[in-house]
Amino acid sequence: MVHFTAEEKAAVVSLWAKVNVELVGGEVLGRLLVVYPWTQRFFDNFGNLSSESAIMGNPKVKAHGKKVLTSFGNAVKHMDDLKDTFAELSELHCDKMHVDPENFKLLGNMILIVLATHFSKEFTPQVQAAWQKLTTAVANALAHRYH
C-alpha cells in the first residue's frame, strides 16, 4: 500500500477542489490522443480524430475525458486504498478493453501536465511531487488485476 503523508494528502485534496473536472478531463484525454497518437486505437468509434483541433474539440473525447477524470476523483477520496478502489476498473481494462497498462502512466503524466498549465500559483514542487505519487499509484492500482 502506498503511504501518503498528511502534507501530501492535503496537497492533493486542495488542488483537486479547484479542478473543473469536465474541462480538465476533456483536455487530459485530448492531449493523450494528440501526444501519444497510438492511444487513438482505443477510440475508433469517437469520430474525427484526424488533427489536434479535431481531437481537442471532439465532444465524445470531452465526455469520455470527464468520465475518466471523475473516476480519478475516487482516487483522491480513497488514497489509502487505491488497489481495492480500482479493482473492478483494473479487471475491465484487462479483460474487456485490453489496454496496455503502460498507458495508465501516460495518462497520469497528462493529468500532471494539464494541472501544471491550469494552476501556475498552486503547482509548487511539493504539489507536483504529491500528484506524481498519486498518479503513479493509480496507474499501479489499475494494473494490479492484470493477468
Binding site: I113, A116, T117, P125, Q128
Partner: protein
C-alpha cells in the same frame, strides 16, 4: 531522430525565448530531486537536501541544474543528430556517474511539467507533443552509449 520543421521551431522557440533560459525553466532539474526523491542519491555532496525548500534553495543544486539545462539546450541545436550530440555525455553517465538511464526519462517528464507550468495555455497540445518527442529523443541519446 528526425524532427519536423514545425517541431524544431516550436521546441527551440520555447527554450531560447527572450530570456534565453528563463530561471523557472533553468531550475527545473531541482524539481526532479523533490518529485523523485531517490534521485538525490547522485548528489550526496550537495549539502542540505532535507526538504523541498532546502532543495529549491540549494546553490549547488541550482548551479548543476543550470549546467544540465544548458547542455540540453546545446544538444537541441543538433536536433537531427541527438545521438551524436550526446555521445560523450552518454559515456560519462554510464562509465563514471553510473546513472540508471530511466532517470533521463524522469528528468524529461519534469522538464515538460515545468514548461507546462511556466507557459500555461501557450503550452498547447501540439507544442507538448513536439517537446515530449524531443525529451524522449534526448533520453534515448543519453542512454545510447550504455553498455
Amino acid at each position: 531522430m528526425d524532427a519536423g520543421q514545425v517541431e524544431k521551431a516550436q521546441s527551440l522557440g520555447l527554450l531560447t525565448g527572450t530570456d534565453s533560459l528563463c530561471p523557472a525553466v533553468l531550475f527545473s532539474p531541482l524539481r526532479l530531486l523533490v518529485v523523485y526523491p531517490w534521485t538525490q542519491r547522485f548528489f550526496q555532496s550537495f549539502g542540505d537536501l532535507s526538504s523541498a525548500d532546502a532543495i529549491m534553495g540549494n546553490s549547488k543544486v541550482k548551479a548543476h541544474g543550470k549546467k544540465v539545462l544548458n547542455s540540453f539546450s546545446d544538444g537541441l541545436k543538433n536536433i537531427d543528430d541527438l545521438k551524436g550530440a550526446f555521445a560523450k555525455l552518454s559515456e560519462l553517465h554510464c562509465d563514471k556517474l553510473h546513472v540508471d538511464p530511466e532517470n533521463f526519462r524522469l528528468l524529461g517528464n519534469v522538464l515538460v511539467c515545468v514548461l507546462a507550468h511556466h507557459f500555461g495555455h501557450e503550452f498547447n497540445p501540439q507544442v507538448q507533443a513536439a517537446f515530449q518527442k524531443v525529451v524522449a529523443g534526448v533520453a534515448n541519446a543519453l542512454a545510447h552509449k550504455y553498455h
